[in-house]
Amino acid sequence: MKGIGKRVTIGFLSIVALLFVSGMISLFELGNMSNDTEMILSASRRNMEIAKDMLKSAGEHSSAVVHLVVFGDKNYEDVCRRSISNLEGKLATVRSEATDASRLDSLAFGIEQLQHVVDEYMSAPVAPKHEVADSVAVATVGAEGVMVADLGADVAARSGKEWYDTRYKYAYNELVERIQSFMTHTHSVLAPRAEQLNKNAYRSVAPVFISLIVMIAIVLMFYYFISVYCVRPMKKINRALSDYLSFRLPFNVKGELIDEFKELSDNIEILIGMSKQQDNINKK
């Protein structure tokens, strides 16, 4: 390559290109990292919300069942159905977004089991459901830690209490446990993703760091080459010219010159030669 202008321009453009590339890399990597962080946080938040809603729906279902069994309030059948459909809706939402849907099968089974237990009870040919109410109330409130006297119960009541204690409570607790496990699992899934994020953070810094080091090396080389091939030759030519003009020393530039500097030196030499010739002519 010839021409100091070209060399400097290409050198300068290389540095600019490297700056641009390292800037783009850092932007790209930081963007990736930001997206990952946002995804992890929003996934965590959404899963927490969903788990909370599910627990709420399960609670609603439980109290609706108590009302249904204790007071025989048929209106709570709707609440029962609504809370089950809420649970199913939330499950469908999670399933549509989950990367590993098989994980949610256990949750679906829990909801199905609860629904099945209630359906089984409702469809059973036990007429005086309200008569079992007292014993169920005892069981429910007793479970909440309030001391209530056992009112005694007839066969039907015993069967209702038995149903609640053995079948429903079991299914309800199972479901709550599965919802809680879903929440915990979300956290255990987030831990490796956070670790991955940590790695990504390292990876996003490494290219920028390396580009920076290369850029520093190139800037130093650029400075060195400019100094060796531009500044020093200019000084040498200037000194040689000054020596010639001040002390009439022969114009002699030490060291290797390239491109326009060599041309300049040669031209000065020609000019000095012409000037000497002119002087000789004048003397004659």
Binding site: M1, R7, G11, S14, R203, I210, M221, F225
Partner: protein, 481 residues
Amino acid sequence: MRFSIILRYVGTVMLCVSAFMAVSAGISLWNNSDSGFYPLLLSSLLTLLLGAFPMLFVPKVNSITNKEGFVIVVGSWVLACVVGMFPYLIWGGEFSLVNAWFESVSGFTTTGASILDDIEELPQGMLFWRAASAWIGGVGVVMFALVILPSLGTNKMALSNIELSSLAKDNYRYRTQIIVRILLVVYVGMTVVTLALLKVAGMRWFDAVTHAMSAISTCGFSVKNASVGFYDNIWIELILVGAMFAGSLHFGLIYATFTRKANNIFRSEVVRGYIGIILVCSICVAISLFAADIYPTIWSALRKAGFQVVSLISTTGFATADTNLWPPFAIILLIFVSIICACAGSTSGGIKVDRALLSGKLLVAKIRRQQHPNAVIRIRVDGVTQENEQLHSVILFVVVYLALLLIGTIFGTAFGQDLMTAFSSSVACMGNVGPGFGEVGSMSNYSDVPVILKLKDTILMLMGRLEIFGFIQLFFIKSWR
């Protein structure tokens, strides 16, 4: 010293390294743009820029001084190792700054020691880059540049004289240009033949390419955690034994053998000595393994022993067995071959059989001279009388080599390593062998070695690769201006 000229030539070497990084990136791209693509591509571009920049300004020169040549050769090795760690650093995973430096130096110096606990986790592009760095380093980074770049003109001779040790030059009775061509033909030829044979023996293409590159460069980087033991295939082991053996012979002798010249493998005293050491050690190790009831038959013991002896003496470091479990007699023999190593003029490191042979002859000559004080005793190798200067440098090399092993061991024990690990890791790194014994055995790695000792090991690797004096000389160049 003209710093700008040094930068231009080191830049040329960087261009070669960059080209191999680009090829590795291509392999990543071909492998469904695996996670190695972006780190390799970026590293390739940065290295390209670093290498090409000096060429913008520095014009070609007709001659370089000896001092400049030394700085170019050592500087090229060190800088190749520095840029070689870029892909590892960008990729992340197990590669911290020191780990990336260790892996890069280990590759370029063809040591083959690794810090990776799980090699198979690496994407194909990165695995190829590991093998490629070893392949470039096998023939010498500067020689590689000389081989593929015709533009270096008359400076080829100056650089190749510095890159090749005096012993390595002995069997080359050609002009520099031809030596460089011989290197290219023999090195590439042997790699291609090994690759083809490994493929025929049942390896998949990628494994065959990386193992062929690794075997001929006597590096020993495998793409499997269990190294060659993963394949459990007698044919693959036999082919690799052949490749490791060929890679550890003087390339000039291999070329002479194929071109039917007089100074061929069969007539070389050094090669005969080398084969003798391999046979004796393999048989002794096999008998000790069979006697210790480690392998049920003498043949299975011989198979494992033969592979390990050739792997260590050729400074490759592939493994088919956990040698830590072998009896002490077998272990000491393996350490012995790791110190002696292979022939000069090959891709291997270590003291080399040539020097061991000369030392032995010197010892015999000394005894004779004491018996016959007036006798004129000349030391000859392959019929060539050795100059006193040469003999002096051989002895000096052996003494300094052993002294450095001792210093390395002391340093290792000072930082908490047990004696076996400290000594064998120093031997393995100085000789560019790779696996040692103890915590750095054939089936383990250097990941648990303290950071300071990893740095010590990399210095030993570079010293071993540059035959000690080349590396030390850099720090004793009186005038840098």
